[in-house]
């Protein structure tokens, strides 16, 4: 009875997805199929994607002390991992990852290509297998950046570019890209990838080096930054970022900046600390607290600095029961851009028992070259049937592969990329391997 119900619900949702599909040739982000997993009441109208991740255990976010630079490690309850930036060259991030038992990374995000964010990523990419690298697509001309590209190529990591309104899926955790907007300006900092993660009642905003311009753009955007319990302060606490209007919107309970002790730039600037105090945030910095680890089960959170106390305000010690930050803002589709390559994941078999067969179907522009990456706990699947394919005359493409008998059960990300005429578009989904 239950399975019949589930099937009806699934067909219903797939139908809605198909009906709701926008015409190809747009970059509209479709709801990911992981939202269709499991039975849904048939009388519930299709909801817009809320991009809220359901907690399944303790999520860890490490704001790693890399001196003057940024590096943030995110570990999911089931052991998936993502690194946002890698600090500057030779600042010990590889050692930190290894000492924390990280032997592979599912996703590496380079917020922008300045050396204090990607320098360490070159070493990470050389030392640790990385399934996927995400950037904003804006190049620079430094040797450090060129090495970064070379190591992505050498390590055969999938390469994906994101912009406002896109989502990044890590083991069922959905990161919403709030910035940069579709059109990149010249300034590298202001084009930083800004990510928002909602984990139950606790939310995170990772600002990269976004500055006042990017913050103003996010304020004006319909993809609202909404609120965040924990804010990774923009640009190392520089006065170029953390505008009062932006902080008033984000209203962080905890603000963490990453800066080197005694750095020559004067980060964090006193204006920023004052602005953070004004909104009542408890402030930690890697310059005074070393690595800061936030652990959350989605209801409450704990901030564990390696050393010392928060730098203020003293009245706002980390609460055992923090003010919950409820509800994510629905993300409207970004404006279509004409002539862009479209790609929609139409269906995927889920759940699949170990040893079973899965099929994913997608629709894109006829003649596009399409690749698929199925990422299990052990890394990308090497199964037969997952080879690159060319979309047929109607734009249809599908892959059928066998799930290994020893594949670890869980929700695993699938990334599909279509490329044509020097354009590439990637869509993410997940599927479930049952027990």
């Amino acid at each position: 009875m239950r399975s019949v119900f589930a099937k009806i619900a699934l067909i219903f949702v797939i139908l809605l997805l198909v009906i709701g599909c926008s015409p190809l040739g747009t970059t509209v982000q479709q709801p990911t199929l992981n939202q269709t997993n499991g039975p849904q009441p048939a009388d519930t109208p299709a909801k817009p994607p809320t991009n809220t991740s359901s907690p399944t255990g303790d999520l860890q976010v490490h704001f790693i002390d890399v001196g003057q630079g940024d590096s943030i490690l995110i570990r999911t309850p089931s052991g998936a991992s993502m690194l946002i930036d890698g600090g500057d060259t030779d600042t010990g991030v590889v050692q930190y990852l290894k000492s924390n038992g990280i032997t592979r990374l599912d996703i590496v995000v380079a917020t922008h290509p300045h050396a204090d964010h990607i320098g360490g990523l070159v070493q990470v990419l050389k030392a640790i297998p990385v399934a996927k690298v995400v950037t904003n697509g804006q190049p620079t001309t430094t040797k450090t950046y060129e090495n970064f590209l070379d190591t992505i190529a050498a390590g055969k990591s999938a390469y994906v570019e994101v912009k406002r309104g896109d989502t990044i899926n890590l083991d069922g955790l959905v990161f919403t890209v709030l910035s940069p907007a579709n059109v990149l300006g010249n300034d590298l900092n202001n084009n930083s990838i800004v990510l928002r993660l909602v984990y139950g009642k606790v939310s995170f905003l990772f600002e990269g080096d976004a500055q006042a311009d990017a913050e103003a753009s996010m304020l004006a955007s319909s993809v609202s930054p909404a609120t965040a319990t924990i804010l990774k302060v923009g640009h190392h606490g520089s006065r170029t970022s953390s505008t009062p209007a932006f902080l008033a919107l984000v209203k962080p309970a905890v603000a963490i900046y990453s800066a080197g002790k005694g750095n020559v730039y004067g980060h964090p600037h006193p204006e920023t600390l004052a602005a953070l105090a004004t909104v009542g945030a408890t402030v930690y910095g890697t310059d005074v607290n070393g690595t800061v680890i936030v652990t959350t089960d989605g209801n409450t959170y704990k901030v564990s600095p390696a050393t010392g106390q928060p730098r203020g305000p003293p009245s706002a010690q980390p609460a055992a029961t923090p003010t919950p930050t409820l509800g994510a803002t629905p993300i409207p589709a970004p404006a279509p851009s004409s002539g862009a390559l479209g790609l929609e994941v139409i269906s995927v078999t889920s759940p699949v028992a170990p040893g079973g067969t899965a099929t994913l179907t997608a629709k894109t522009v006829p003649g596009s070259t399409c690749t698929i990456i199925v990422n299990y706990k052990s890394g990308p699947s090497q199964a037969q049937g997952l080879e690159a394919k060319v979309a047929d005359i109607n734009g249809n493409v599908s892959w059928t592969w066998k799930v290994g008998t020893t594949t670890t059960p869980g929700n695993w990300p699938i990334s599909v990329t279509a490329s044509k005429d020097k354009q590439a578009v990637t869509k993410e989904t997940t599927f479930t391997v049952g027990k």
Binding site: T140, T141, K143, I152, L188, S419, K422
Partner: protein, 84 residues
Amino acid sequence: MIEKAVIDRFEEDMAVLLVGEKERKVIAPRKNLPAGAKEGHWLKIEFDGEKLVNAIIDDEETSKVKERIAQKLERLRQGKHLEG
């Protein structure tokens, strides 16, 4: 000695330069760089001890590197590095 350097970024009135093949980090006052110097520009620079005494924008090197990097980025975008 004249060396090659690239402007990684500006931090307010300071420029962060990456100097030479190994990209040694040097922080120099922005005012010591030529007017119009931007992030990503390659320079020919000269030090007197620690002090940056001369800097010229190297347009030729900047274009050459830009072009080479654009090709590498395009290969990644097309997923060519995943083939074979």
